[in-house]
Symmetry: C2
Subunit: 240 residues, 2 copies
DNA sequence: CGAGAGGTTGAATGTACTCAAGCTGGGTGG
DNA sequence: CCACCCAGCTTGAGTACATTCAACCTCTCG
């Protein structure tokens, strides 16, 4: 948990994270308080209703944000990929439970120090604001999925979303759109909690996509998408 | 559409809106560019994918924010009550369709002028940020409802949310919690679009609540809640 | 080789949807 | 003043989609 292992200049998420578009001086100040932290798949990052000790950029891996009802029903309300920012500025309590969906590396900033720097550097606050707006857009987009899409459309939309976020990581290399290959960070049960479905329904829909040749499975977590346009059509109108 | 008809000092939403906690100077600058606009129930406030000409505080009435799928399926992704802020700062295109659910009064700020003032007064940007965080919280809370709650729980949760937001308006007077009376701004069809249900299901659930004495209807849009605690229980576990 | 977690598949069930008819209240015109 | 109309809402019957319950498969790990 020592100081960051790599300089910001060679950080994989430097440009897309809140650190993007900051001046050298601003970066330097953040760098001074940054510490890398590693979390094994399944480990808890942030407790519900807890006061988080730090903010963080996701550097590698996927973090899932979960809300739970009194009787145990769960809903994943957000997935964070590399370059996403973890933590609510100006809020003392976390509204969700954060857990490492895969092995995760975070670039953390101790709460008090971070808030002090933010107060003095308006550029950072602006970046945080933009990230929050992105999160809001994603949440409202997902509301449409949860409220109005069929199980088939939900699963197709989920695969598309993962494909898009994953291809961002490897720069624009995978932007060719043909023959996308992706690794699912989530189990079937987690996918179900993200889509508002049950495990069995998710499994059946994935099988159905496989049978129709829309996707090819290698094992249970590696998905190849031969024709992403076909999948896109299925994400909005399952009939097509 | 002239300049604001009332001074900020006597504005009904002054304290809770983005104008709250601003200095006299900051308020004065906003006031200088503020214009009231009225919208009849059902009229369009903002087109999907459009570049909005202004930002605004909701002063009276309710604004609904809608997203639509290719085949016409709709989902309301947000409801804005008095003191809520309309418009995405730093974004040029609106991600949703905004419509007056009831008669609405907005306190508008012309886009360019507003952005100039925001740039010069960090206090305002901070307030906008806080409002965006509230919106994100609400969206994620609603994701749980859409993904994991039953029809009965959804309708109960909806009534509770309206009760809470409405009682805020009349100060804390209605905070007594006993015998809450509220006016629904939304039609059954709009409630359905907010809850991810059909008209018929919403109607049946409301009827069921009525039969069980949890609510009393006066006409179709006025709801009396004799025992709000009972409704709260139904919002999380319909069995209870 | 056995155990167990994660995943798939099958059959039966149930919740919410669809389709359809009927009701209610406000507004209009005869 | 009443009859009529229409939109919004309610109610009913049948259906479909996703869920539940259960069995089985498959891989990994000890």
């Amino acid at each position: 948990m020592g100081p960051r292992q790599i300089p910001c200049s060679s950080c994989a998420v430097r440009n897309r994270s809140v650190c993007g578009a900051l001046s050298d001086d601003e970066i330097a100040r953040l760098n001074a308080i940054a510490h890398f932290k590693h979390f094994g798949a399944g480990s808890v990052i942030l407790l519900d209703h807890d006061e988080p000790g730090y903010f963080a950029n996701v550097v590698t891996g996927v973090v899932k944000l979960t809300k739970t009802l009194g009787d145990g029903r769960q809903q994943i309300v957000g997935l964070q990929f590399p370059s996403d920012f973890l933590g609510r500025p100006f809020r003392t309590r976390s509204p969700y439970f954060a857990e490492a969906a895969s092995d995760v590396t975070l670039c953390t900033f101790e709460r008090g120090q971070f808030e002090r720097i933010v107060k003095e550097t308006p550029g950072i606050e602006r970046r945080l604001f933009e990230h929050t707006l992105d999160e809001l857009d994603a949440a409202q987009e997902w509301m449409v999925l949860l409220g109005r899409k069929t199980a088939g459309e939900k699963v197709a939309s989920f695969l598309l979303m993962v494909a898009k976020r994953s291809s961002q990581e490897g720069c624009a290399a995978a932007a060719s759109l043909d023959l996308v290959k992706l690794e699912l960070a989530l189990s079937r049960s987690e996918i179900a909690d993200y889509l508002g479905l049950t495990i069995e329904t998710v499994s059946r829909q994935i099988t159905s996509l496989k049978r129709r040749g829309v996707i090819v499975l290698e094992g249970t977590r590696t998905v190849v998408i031969p024709d992403i346009v076909k999948l896109e059509r299925l994400a909005e109108q399952m009939a097509g």
